[in-house]
Amino acid sequence: MTGAAGRPPEDDSIARLLEQAGPRPIPPEERAGRVRETVRAHWRTEVGAAPRRRTPIWAAASLAAAAAVVAAVTWGLWSHGQRPSVAEAPIAVLLKSEGSIRLVDAAQVHDDGAPPRIGDALQAGSTIESGADGRAALSLADGTSLRIDSGTRVRLLSGPTLDLEQGAIYLDSGRGQNRRAFLEVRTKWGVVRDIGTQFEVRLTDDAVWLSVREGLATLARSGRSFAAPAGTRLVAGATGVESRALEGPDWSWVLAMAPSFQMEGRTLADYLDWLSRETGWRVEFADPAIARESSTIVLHGSVAGIRPDETPAAVLPTCGLQHRLSDGTLHIERLDGAGRPR
C-alpha cells in the first residue's frame, strides 16, 4: 500500500509531521558568535592551541582564499580603530566596488554618506544599494561570493539568507563544500536556494529570473520546489513558473566584478581552477605532463585589476605556457621554443 506521491503510509506520516513542524529554528547569529568566541577561547586554553592568526571570527570557516585575505585586511582596519564586539561579528565583507554604492549597516557604521571602502564589514540586517552605475562584490561569512549588479537593493538577513528587493545578484557558493546551511535568496516571487552552485537572481518588473550557470538551484513557492540545473533559467511571475534554456547568457558583468585571484604563492592548478570557475571555460592541456606540473608550479605577483578572462595572457607565459581559446575551451600548451611536448 502506498500513500501520496507513491510513498509508504508511514513515510507520508513523517512528511506530514515535518511539513507541519517547519524548519528547525536557527539560533540568532549574534548569540552564536558570542558563544563561539568564548567557547573557542576556552578550547584553546584546554588544548594549549595558540591561535594561528587573529582574524574575524568567521574567517576560520571561510573556504575562499580571497575572503580570508580580506578578513585579515578588515581586522587590520579594525585594529587601528575600535575593535567591534563579538556581537557585531560581520557576515559579509566588501571586496570590490565601482560607481555608486551605498551600504546601510545594521549598526549604522556605514550610513554616514561616506563611500564604502574595500574591507568594510557588514552585519546581519545590513542593506546594500547600487546606483545605475554601481556594482559591488562581497564575500559572505561562509566564503560565498556575492556580486551585485547596478540598480540593486539587497538585504543581508543572516549569514546564508538574502532578501532581494530589486535588481540582480550573482552568487557563487563554491564547489567541494559541504555546508550545513543553504544559501537562500528571498524575493517576492519565491525563494531561491543553492545546492552548491553559481547562479544569478534577477528581478524584473513582473517576475524573477533564476539563471543557473553551474550546479543546481531550486526555487520554492506556494509549497512547491522547482529545480533549475546548469544552463537553464526559471522565470517565476504572477502566472506561474516556466523553465527555459539559457541561451547566450551575459555573464560579462559578473566577470567584471570578480574579486581578484590572490596569486602570490598559489599554484598554477589553483589559478586554473579559479579561472575555470569564473569564466566557465574548460581547461585542456596539450601535454598531460603540464597538468601534473600545474600543482607544483608556484605563482608570484598579482593580477589585481585584470578581468579573469584577460589574466591568462599575463600568467601563462611566466610559466612557459601559452593558450588559445575556442568554443569555451582554454587549450594550454608549452611556449614555442620553451619545450614542445616531450
Binding site: L18, V35, A61, T218, A220, G223, S225
Partner: protein, 174 residues
C-alpha cells in the same frame, strides 16, 4: 579537536551549538539570554571533560547531560522556579497542557530531529521541509543518488524509532 585543529572545533561547534540551544531554550522558559549562558557553560565544561568521553553515548547526548546540569544550576543559583514544561524527549504526556498543539508537535519534531545521528536530521529536513529531491540532496552531500536514498531510508527509520510512542501521528507504521 583535542589536538587543537581549528577545523575540528568549527565542525564541533557548528554541529552542536544550534541543537543544544534548541534543547535548552524550551527548558528555560524560552529565555534566550539564559539559553545562551547555559549552552556556553555546558560546552566549556564538556570541552574540559572531552577526554573522558568514551563514545558510549552519542556526542550530542553526552553534551545534553552537561546542558541539563547547567539548567539545574541556573534554576538553583537564582532560586528561580523551573517552568512546568516537560522534557520533550520524555514524551507528549510531559508537555504542558496549555501549549498549542501545533507548537507542541513542532517542538517534538525538532527535538527528535536534533537527537538523531549526525546528518539524519538535516536530510529529513531537506527532503520534507525544503522539498528537495533525492538528486538534489545527493548533489548537496556530494554522494550518489543511491547513497542519498539509502541515507534517507536510514534517517526515516531512525526518526520513526526516536519519535515518541503514543503520539497520534502514525509514524510507527500502519
Amino acid at each position: 579537536m583535542l589536538e587543537g585543529e581549528e577545523r575540528a572545533f568549527t565542525e564541533f561547534f557548528d554541529g552542536h551549538f544550534p541543537r543544544l540551544y534548541r534543547f535548552a531554550l524550551p527548558r528555560l522558559g524560552r529565555n534566550a539570554d539564559a539559553a545562551e549562558e547555559v549552552v556556553q557553560a555546558a560546552l566549556c565544561k564538556a570541552i574540559s571533560a572531552m577526554r573522558s568521553w568514551r563514545g558510549e553515548a552519542s556526542l550530542f547526548t553526552w553534551l545534553c547531560t552537561f546542558c541539563v546540569h547547567e539548567i539545574s544550576s541556573h534554576y538553583r543559583q537564582g532560586d528561580r522556579r523551573p517552568l512546568t514544561v516537560g522534557l520533550l524527549e520524555d514524551g507528549p504526556a510531559m508537555i504542558a497542557p496549555d501549549e498549542a498543539r501545533h507548537t507542541e508537535v513542532s517542538m517534538l519534531v525538532h527535538a527528535t530531529l536534533d537527537g538523531l545521528p549526525e546528518g539524519y536530521g538535516d536530510v529529513l529536513e531537506w527532503k520534507y521541509v525544503l522539498g528537495l529531491s533525492v538528486d538534489e540532496i545527493a548533489a548537496r552531500l556530494e554522494v550518489s543518488p543511491k547513497a542519498a536514498e539509502s541515507l534517507l531510508t536510514r534517517a526515516r527509520q531512525a526518526f520513526r524509532d526516536a519519535y515518541p510512542e503514543g503520539d497520534d501521528s502514525g509514524t510507527k507504521g500502519q
